[in-house]
């Protein structure tokens, strides 16, 4: 069974990975200084765990540096409800 996450869960993952107080759908590497290359790595590693190792099957996920892009990519792969 494929593990899926919700948009709310995704926001929590990003918030915790970046160690920031809050994130919104408009958050990205452009408006959050914590969302740097290390922050991006944190998000990806936690997402991979949550998705039970399915992350590497998602094309262009490494380039998704905003909440909107992550949502779009994960939805396309039916990994986001």
């Amino acid at each position: 069974m494929i593990k899926k996450i919700t948009e709310k869960e995704l926001l929590v993952i990003i918030k915790n990975s970046l160690e920031v107080k809050a994130v919104s759908v408009n958050s990205s590497s452009k408006n959050l200084k914590e969302w740097d290359s290390l922050g991006q790595l944190n998000i990806l590693s936690v997402l991979d765990k949550k998705l039970r190792g399915k992350l590497s099957l998602v094309n262009n996920i490494s380039k998704a540096d905003s909440v909107k892009k992550l949502i779009a990519i994960l939805k396309k792969k039916s990994l986001l409800i």
């Binding site: 290359s37 290390l38 590693s45 590497s56 490494s62």
Partner: protein, 315 residues
């Protein structure tokens, strides 16, 4: 006749940069160390050939081995002193090896050690030599500017030597390799002429997209492990130790979790020496030589290219 690792040695430069000394906030440094696991990196201003010369001459003197026995010298490097000639030719001359020797360079990074071993294996099987040396050497520091923090906190210059000898008993059970050149821009020293239009590459500085390398690693490394185990009708339980290229703590921890490998089966050294590219596995082999004796080891090199390779060995 088969490939056997007889001895190993390595050289780390004297210059060492402590990550705590970087002009970054304490919080940032803490985060870097937490994720990379690397506390210091080594660098040298001396040429690659000078460092290799030191390593080779010291090794032969210390072990009292005649250089005339060596019939091949393979140099794995991506930071050669010369584009041409082959740097291994220069080493043959500078280190006074005989002329009846095969020499060539291999342009591979973190998978280069596995490549070097597989090719050495073929040389032995072809009866071209009984003894040879494989040198893994890189000076990535020459491609890393002071502002390039993401690479500065990761890569160390390092030079390693693997003395190989023909053996009757088969110690290397298998090799596997893979390539995905679509990732060539994810870890690259750009060619200024070719990349003029690409705004990402502002100089011939080493460029790394950590997230792309990470996603590559967590996809390809588990795949190749499964493939090589299947090929040898083995399970991961039959492997005593897993030696991964020391990319970073995050990569290795993610891989071990994904593959459900017990922590005690994974040997690391990134915290002491950083990411030493093609030398990372040889340095671990040297460090844990006694512990690894007569053990079944699965080694995986992966990185720049993207390129990856694995081997199972009875050490």
């Amino acid at each position: 006749m088969h490939l056997g690792i007889k001895k190993l040695d390595y050289l780390l430069p004297r210059n060492c940069k402590n990550i705590y000394d970087l002009r970054l906030s304490k919080k940032k440094i803490k985060k870097i160390i937490e994720k990379t696991g690397i506390k210091k990196v080594f660098f040298t201003k001396e040429s690659l050939i000078t460092n290799c010369e030191k390593l080779i001459n010291n090794f032969f003197e210390k072990n009292n081995i005649k250089k005339s026995r060596i019939k091949f010298l393979i140099l794995v490097t991506q930071s050669p002193d010369y584009i041409l000639p082959s740097n291994s030719c220069v080493l043959q001359y500078k280190c006074n090896f005989n002329n009846d020797i095969i020499t060539f360079d291999i342009n591979q990074g973190c998978s280069g050690f596995i490549y070097g071993l597989a090719i050495s294996n073929s040389i032995f099987k072809s009866d071209l030599a009984d003894e040879g040396i494989l040198i893994c050497a890189d000076r990535y520091s020459k491609f890393i500017s002071n502002n390039n923090i993401s690479c500065r906190v990761l890569f160390s210059d390092a030079f390693s030597l693997i003395y190989l000898k023909k053996k009757k008993k088969r110690t290397f059970l298998s090799f596997e390799f893979g390539t995905d050149g679509s990732g060539y821009k994810s870890l690259i020293v750009p060619n200024k002429e070719l990349e003029k239009k690409n705004k990402i590459f502002k100089s011939n500085n080493l460029f790394m997209s950590g997230s792309e390398v990470f996603v590559f690693a967590i996809k390809r490394v588990p795949e190749i492990i499964k493939k090589i185990l299947k090929k040898n009708s083995m399970t991961s339980n039959e492997i005593d130790y897993f030696l991964f290229h020391q990319a970073s703590k995050l990569v290795i921890e993610t891989l071990s979790e994904k593959m459900q490998i017990p922590k005690q089966k994974i040997l690391n050294n990134f915290s002491e020496v950083g990411n030493t590219t093609s030398s990372s596995i040889p340095i671990i082999l040297k460090k844990y030589q006694k512990k690894l004796r007569k053990k079944k080891i699965l080694m995986v090199g992966f990185g720049v290219g993207f390129s990856w390779g694995a081997s199972i060995i009875n050490f």
